[in-house]
Symmetry: C2
Subunit: 346 residues, 2 copies
């Protein structure tokens, strides 16, 4: 078997160095650069610039830059934050990847195909002592979860479904706490989050026995007044991914849950036959699971993506109804901010 020396293979979450140069390749439209856009939105100061192939149709609104220019500005990592048909790395990208490695940059990719499976790239990375990060593919080793109580405080975002704003909400809360001087870290559990945090674990890609253990290592013991803001995944009501969600909840041993919701869904994402749970049942089930490893877990608010509602009146009514029925603050983090949820966090 080949030498893994240049593949990040160690214990615990992977760590990616910034600043980044964002590679957009030949992205056919803006949506294909969704991950890259998220990174720039949350970490503008980590992103020196973007580099594209001539056919690229996406733009991040940051300076175009050659590998050489980025390197002179101190760039550490070329980030491939683009979706591609089949998740493969086409040969047209090779010259840019090679130039980056030869200049001494690491490369981090969120594609299904692994950088480390490309022999040329692997060899050049090895020869230049550069690291290759395949953020969808954990290469590290974890212990089995123990459920033993850790010091420090933890918040986990959970959801009525997949793709309802769990990463956005955790990041918005992290930003809010930071602005108030409360010690905290965003903890990433998915590929976009890992680029934004610079570290993390794709928990849905670890071996099933280690879901809770990987989450424990992602959110280790900390100072008693420190908050980890952990990005949730899936939903206990999603028949495809609830196992991931369950292990993540137990490993996170959250003090606080925030439930994320998207009100216009008619069924669970990808499953036309599967109904969306109601908010109250969803809080109860996630909280009940959380109490296995943290008896004091509470739900502190509901974060709603209201962009699909037709007008401001409907939006206000919707949030008010949730507040009345749950007794908890309900906000759209993009429009309202998260302060009404975080006001009791200190």
């Amino acid at each position: 078997m080949y030498n893994h020396f240049n593949v990040e293979k160690s214990w615990g979450p992977m760590k990616i160095e910034h600043p980044y140069l964002m590679f957009l390749g030949d992205a056919p439209d803006q949506l294909a650069a969704k991950t890259a856009s998220g990174i720039v939105y949350w970490r503008r100061d980590w992103c020196l610039g973007q580099i594209k192939l001539s056919s690229c149709k996406a733009d991040l609104g940051i300076p175009n830059m050659s590998i050489k220019e980025a390197k002179e500005l101190g760039c550490r990592t070329l980030v491939l934050g683009i979706a591609n048909r089949g998740g493969i790395i086409p040969e047209t990208w090779t010259p840019t990847l090679v130039e980056a490695l030869e200049s001494g940059m690491d490369i981090a990719a969120g594609l299904h195909q692994r950088l480390e499976d490309l022999e040329e790239i692997r060899n050049i990375a090895f020869n230049n002592n550069c690291k290759l990060f395949d953020v969808r593919h954990p290469t590290t080793t974890f212990n089995v979860g123990s459920g033993v109580s850790r010091s420090g405080k933890r918040l986990l975002t959970v959801g009525t479904d997949c793709s309802v704003g769990k990463m956005y909400t955790a990041l918005a809360i992290a930003k809010d706490l930071k602005s108030r001087g409360i010690p905290s870290d965003f903890r990433a559990t998915g590929q976009t989050g890992i680029f934004i945090a610079g570290s993390g674990v794709s928990v849905d890609a670890v071996v099933a026995d280690f879901i809770s253990g990987a989450t424990e290592s992602l959110s280790p013991e900390n100072n008693p007044n420190h908050w980890d803001l952990i990005e949730g995944q899936g939903s206990l009501f999603h028949p495809s991914y609830a196992g991931v969600t369950m292990g993540l909840i137990h490993g996170a041993q959250p003090d606080a849950l925030v439930l994320c919701h998207e009100p216009t869904r008619s069924h669970m994402r990808g499953l036309a036959h599967q109904p969306i749970p109601d908010i109250k049942s969803c809080i109860d089930l996630h909280l009940n699971a959380a109490k296995l490893t943290n008896a004091n877990a509470v739900c502190i608010g509901i974060s709603v993506n209201t962009s699909g509602l037709s007008n401001e009146a409907e939006r206000q009514d919707y949030l008010s109804d949730i507040e009345s029925s749950t007794g908890l603050p309900a906000i759209d983090p993009v429009i309202d901010g998260v302060a009404s949820i975080t006001k009791f966090m200190k």
Copy 2:
């Protein structure tokens, strides 16, 4: 990377051919051969004989046999059903493994170290067109679970903890149904079960995103009157493994649950700080999870390993108490058989 041609790598659960020759290596005591003993207990007719090294201290009570003799009797697979310090395959085993492969047998192992990672073994297997099965390491590809209802009936064993008789109970029910002519299959989700079934998936070893999908493929659509008897894993109350249990429940979409329990445990296996749940809560939580993909799921009985209770009176009292509090039949499958649980299955 090396050629995977001789590694069983396809879609769905792995399939091991019998009859078996049981290799005991240099097992230091009977406990080290626990997996092999389980295979002989449940599949005596699949096991032609045993083969040992001179220092072996275990015995399965079946004929000693050379590779050549086993081959002449039609042996298809050499089974390594032994635990070993660190789960590695020592060099002292190599001559036997090589002889088996050169005679045309496949090899199946339940160790942490993979047969396919041993270059010599891999090459000889390839040259002799033999398969290597590492039952702890799924090499197959699964779809993400859909939760779509499948025809056929399914029973899943669940538990208050790990190692409380979930495999034994599923196998005892399978045997009972077979004796009554009810069409059924035992479906294995762990290593010993896979050797006993000749096929299956180590669900705790699949990538987290595919737990429920792997279980769906393990227990596919079937005739409406056919029962799959699915071996459970872990417990929703075990902080290390509940993610596996959750995905397994959703993928199994069980019509019937049987809860397994061991009454002398003072804490969850391996976790001194974690209390054992009470039977009623355990039924409720597992049933609630099952209802996500099968609204008609019911718990039909409790299977108790009473071997740790001090006498027959205590045993009877314990089972009676469970029956009174749950309204369900409670049995020890080894002593009482499973008929009182299975009498309504048809």
